[in-house]
Structures are given as structure tokens and as C-alpha cells.
Amino acid sequence: MPDQPRPGDRSADQRAADHAGIARLADALVPALIARLGSASLGEVEIHEGDWHLRVRRAAGGPRRERPHRPALPIVSPSGASAPAAAASPADPGDPRREAAVSPAVGMFKPSLPAGSRVRAGDRIAAVDLLGIAIDVVAPIDGTVVEVYPQAGDGVEYGEEVALIEGDRAPADGAREG
């Protein structure tokens, strides 16, 4: 069947429809997503509809997160004891809070910063090698790397806690974690 149109071929109508769709996105959806990104303290918003998807990401330097952290997970130190829940609570602004950095992928662990390093939220503290592609493990909060759990070359799973960050003392006004 040599004359049969292939799925990749697009008619003029389809192309026109796509251009109209892109125009609509630029006029209406993108500003709305940017507003939502600002108000929700998210690093990134992605939406899917039909054949397309659209991702809006906050520019580097802002309070960016590669992936949402998981406050529901207990923060476990290597000894197995849970960190005190109060330490992570903004209700007690005087105490430093601790948060775990988690692996964004399943793969081989490559540390890049030693314990004691100062980090800002979003900084790379390690990488996970996924079939030759390094995927960043980022600090969830501003603070100091207390401990990195896996050794270089260890296998880590998705969502595994790989490092513990102790946050800077919060300002006295108890500003929310961005």
C-alpha cells in the first residue's frame, strides 16, 4: 500500500489547528501557570491534555525543587531512630530542622559533597547514575549536610533517603519554608 498516508503525515488542517492551539496556550494558559507557580511555591508545573504536555519551570536561583519532598516520611537516621518531629516544625523557629535528601531515581550512587558542606535548597549534593545519565540529588532546604548514607557505587532505589540536611536557624518571624 505505497500511497497510504502514514500516521506522521499531517494535513494543512491539522497544522492550522496546532498553530491555533499554540496561540491559545501562549495567551491564556502560560500566564495562568506562571501565576500558579508563583503562588504555590512550586518549582515546576506540568499539565497534560490530549496529545501535548506543557511544563513551566521556575528559573534557576529561586526556591526550586526538582521533586516535591515528602514530609509524610519519617526522617530516619542510620541508627534507626526517628529525628524528633518537632525539629521539622515551623512552630519552633529556634530549633534547626532536618530534612532528608532523597534519590530521584534507581541507580548507582555518586556523592559530590562531603558531610559538613553548606548547601542552598536546590543545590546538587550527589548524583544517581541511571544507565550512564547522572541525575541530581538536590538539597531540600538551605543548611548543612550532616551525613551522606550510601557509599560511592552503592545501588540506591527511587525515593531512598541518601543524605540528611540540617537547616539553618529560621528567622525569628518564623517565615514559611518556601
Binding site: Q4, R6, P7, Q14, L131, E160
Partner: protein, 455 residues
């Protein structure tokens, strides 16, 4: 040699593969998504590793995540189960490129059998009758043209997958235009490939499939047929063997033709050839499934052959080790798919905590399920909770055993389709073995249940 397998799937099939590994003395690592952390296969595995979030695209459909998990856990093989990446030749090739054994046909065999539309032509050339159909569909106008040529009613089918996803029967051009985008998006979501084709729809048909096993050395056997005509919206819910619709001679002839054709076409490993059988007993090949199937236990009950173990041994390069005359078809077996869905409300899938689960038992009763009392059924995946399989020396005995076993099965906390199975086992068309694939859809499941209650 295979000594440690990564099971890249979930639910009951992950547990089934785990059990095969145990009997073969092979270590099993279960790759799971965050939503399946507490499922039985993840809990029972020698090792379990989280490969991604609940979203299957980033876990069970992520080839890099699965291969990376296999490498960091020291596996030498990957079992893909069914669905997800099980028939993806690019995945099989990537697995091999990383020095791992893919438990299934090799990538070049999968590639040859990847397009359902092309396979129909390939096996037709090797002597199997097929149903009129189209090539791959392009845009809407071209799809409408093809449908005219094939003749309404037509069935829209995804070229890449099975399980009823992305499949719709349409009777007119208007209907076709309306559902084409839906089928495309369903196919893309389920298989990562939205190519579709058309097949002429036979109104009164039965769905009969032949199980085959072919080793790498071209030695193949069939393991008889399964009748999967009890469906709702193109999804099988009850399977049995032998098929009540076919004579012993007809069954043997179909099975022999099927295995001969696939061996000639160069197939390898376990696979299933699906046929539609019309009212006169003519069988038309529709598609091949290059993987283990949900309903494989039916065949295991009749033949005594462990199909998953056979699949692993063939992939490891072993010869089949048995001949056609070593494959009996003894007695009658029925499988009931137990789904977390509500037959009274259009089979709406359910999720939630299983407050109580009691599995049926007794002789010749098998219950394959990843669920347990306290298990949370996640809302992200298909609704299959488990499979109840019964065997008896005759169809009547198997039906009686099925009734007894279904009455023992207790699932509390989520709605299941058990009532549909109970209704089937008292319905005249089923008892007489005279039913076609539209038995449930013709009257609607709710009406079918009501009628069974009155009888």
C-alpha cells in the same frame, strides 16, 4: 544460565513469576512502584527495589529504571510479566544490550511479531486464515476510507497491545470519528504507542486461543486451546479449557495448525495465538501474544506443565525438553478473574483497603492473588485482584467446584465482580456452553445479574 531475575511487574503475575523462580532455585528481585511497596510480591521477594512513583510511565513502563534496578541488584535476567513492557522489542533489546537475559522472545522475534497488523499478514502467509482488516490507520479521513473498505461494523484495535485497552467496536463512520481519538489516547497511555488498525467485527463469535511453546532450536509444541468468550467490553473475565464450542477433532486441528505456522514464522518462547470462531466453527487468526497470559493457569491445570518455568528455561537457552505427545489435555479447567470492580455500576473499578480476604481451598482449587487482609488496593493500575482456577474431570464437575470455591471466597472492603461469576455459573447459555463474546454486553451486566437472581 539465569540465577537471579528482576521481576518488572506487579500484582498477581509478579507473585506468579516469583513462585516459578522459587521452584527453579532462582533468586527473585521484585521491582515495584511507590504504590506497591506493601504488595505481596514486594514483601515475599528475596529483594525488592523501588523503581519509581505510582505513575506507570515512570516506573513499570520506564525501561531505564527497570534495567538500572536489575544492574544495581545484581540480576542477570528480567521477567516483564504481562502488559507494560512485556512485548516491547526495544525494551527487550535494551535488556540484552546491558548483558541481561530477557525472559520472553528475543528482541528480533518480538520485532517481527510487534505489529499486530503485520503479523496477520505473516501468519496468513504460513497458512492461518485471518479476518479482513486494514493497515495502520493514518488520519481520520484515511481511517474512514479503510473502514468503508473493510465494511462496518469494525473493531478498532491498537497495534501494540492487548487486554481490551484502546479497543472499540463501531457501526458507523460517525461513531468511528467520535471514538478514534479516545482509542488513540488509551493505546498511548497503555502501550506508549498509539497506532491503530481495523478488523471486521463478527457479530456472534467465540474467542478461542492456542497456547504454544517453542524453544530456540525450532522445536515447538501446542498446549491446546483456551476459550475466552466470556468478556465484558473486550476484556476477558472467565476462561476455560477445553472450549465447549469445538469438537475434539476441531480443537486438535486448530492447535496443530497454529503451532506449525508460528514455528515456520520463526517464533520462540511461550506465546498465544488468538482466534475468532464463527457460528459454523471456522477459526480466524486475529493476533499473537508474545508473553505469558493472565489465563495461563487454565492450561497448567490441564497439562501439568508450568508455563512460567518453561518460559524462563527457554529464555535461558534450554531445549523444550518435552514433545507433543507429552502434553495431555486432561479434564476441564475454569479460571475466574476476580476484579475490584462493580458489575452493577458499569464495572467501575474500585480501590481501598481489603478489610478481610478469605481464599477458597480444597482439591483442584488454585487461588493466585497478591492481595491479603489489610492490603490497600491502589487506584493506579488495572483492577485484577486475583484469579480463582478450578479443575474437574468434566466440565460439569469443574462448574460445581467453581460454585463451591466462589462461595468460600470472601473479599470485604472493596466491591468485586464475584456476583457476575456466580450468575454465569447458573445461566443457561453458560451451562450449555452456548455463548458468544457479547453474552454480557448484549444485555448489560446489571440486567444479567438481575436475571440470574430471578432464575
Amino acid at each position: 544460565m539465569v540465577s537471579r531475575i528482576l521481576i518488572a511487574n506487579r500484582g498477581e503475575i509478579a507473585l506468579r513469576v516469583l513462585r516459578a523462580c522459587r521452584t527453579l532455585g532462582i533468586e527473585a528481585v521484585v521491582a515495584y512502584s511507590e504504590a506497591d511497596r506493601a504488595s505481596l510480591p514486594a514483601l515475599l521477594a528475596d529483594e525488592a527495589i523501588c523503581i519509581g512513583p505510582a505513575d506507570a510511565k515512570r516506573s513499570y513502563l520506564s525501561a531505564p529504571a527497570i534495567i538500572s534496578a536489575a544492574l544495581v541488584t545484581g540480576c542477570d535476567a528480567v521477567h516483564p510479566g504481562y502488559g507494560f513492557l512485556s512485548e516491547d522489542d526495544a525494551f527487550a533489546d535494551a535488556v540484552r544490550a546491558h548483558g541481561l537475559t530477557f525472559i520472553g522472545p528475543s528482541s528480533h522475534v518480538l520485532e517481527r511479531f510487534a505489529s499486530k497488523e503485520e503479523v496477520r499478514r505473516l501468519l496468513a502467509a504460513h497458512g492461518l486464515p485471518t479476518i479482513p482488516g486494514s493497515g495502520l490507520l493514518g488520519d481520520e479521513a484515511q481511517a474512514l476510507e479503510e473502514a468503508e473498505r473493510v465494511g462496518y461494523p469494525v473493531l478498532i484495535k491498537p497495534s501494540a497491545g492487548g487486554g481490551g485497552k484502546g479497543m472499540r467496536m463501531v457501526r458507523s463512520a460517525r461513531e468511528l470519528a467520535a471514538v478514534l481519538p479516545i482509542c488513540r489516547s488509551e493505546a498511548r497511555a497503555a502501550f506508549g504507542d498509539d497506532s491503530l488498525y481495523l478488523e471486521r467485527w463478527l457479530e456472534e463469535n467465540r474467542h478461542v486461543e492456542v497456547q504454544v511453546a517453542v524453544d530456540r532450536y525450532g522445536h515447538g509444541v501446542h498446549l491446546w486451546e483456551r476459550d475466552c468468550s466470556i468478556q465484558r467490553r473486550h476484556q476477558k473475565i472467565l476462561e476455560e479449557s477445553p472450549s465447549p464450542a469445538m469438537s475434539p477433532a476441531g480443537r486438535r486441528e486448530l492447535a496443530e495448525r497454529a503451532v506449525k505456522a508460528v514455528v515456520a514464522a520463526g517464533y520462540e518462547n511461550v506465546g498465544t495465538l488468538e482466534f475468532l470462531v464463527d457460528a459454523d466453527g471456522n477459526a480466524y487468526f486475529i493476533e499473537i501474544n508474545c508473553r505469558i497470559q493472565v489465563e495461563h493457569p487454565v492450561t497448567e491445570m490441564l497439562t501439568g506443565i508450568d508455563l512460567v518455568a518453561t518460559q524462563i528455561r527457554i529464555a535461558a537457552g534450554e531445549p523444550l525438553g518435552f514433545a507433543q505427545e507429552d502434553v495431555p489435555q486432561e479434564g476441564h479447567a475454569i479460571e475466574f478473574r476476580i476484579n475490584a470492580e462493580d458489575p452493577e455500576h458499569d464495572f467501575r473499578p474500585g480501590a481501598g483497603t481489603i478489610e478481610r480476604l478469605n481464599a477458597p481451598g480444597g482439591p483442584f482449587v488454585r487461588f493466585d492473588s497478591h492481595a491479603y487482609t489489610g492490603y490497600d488496593v491502589p487506584p493506579f493500575y488495572d483492577s485484577l485482584l486475583g484469579k480463582l482456577i478450578v479443575w474437574g474431570p468434566t466440565r460439569e464437575a469443574a462448574i460445581a467446584r467453581g460454585k463451591a470455591a466462589l462461595s468460600e471466597l470472601v473479599v470485604e472492603g472493596v466491591t468485586t465482580n464475584v456476583a457476575i461469576h456466580q450468575a454465569l455459573l447458573t445461566s443457561e447459555p453458560f451451562l450449555q456452553g452456548k455463548f458468544t463474546t457479547n453474552l454480557l454486553d448484549r444485555v448489560g451486566a446489571a440486567a444479567f445479574l438481575t436475571a440470574a437472581e430471578r432464575a
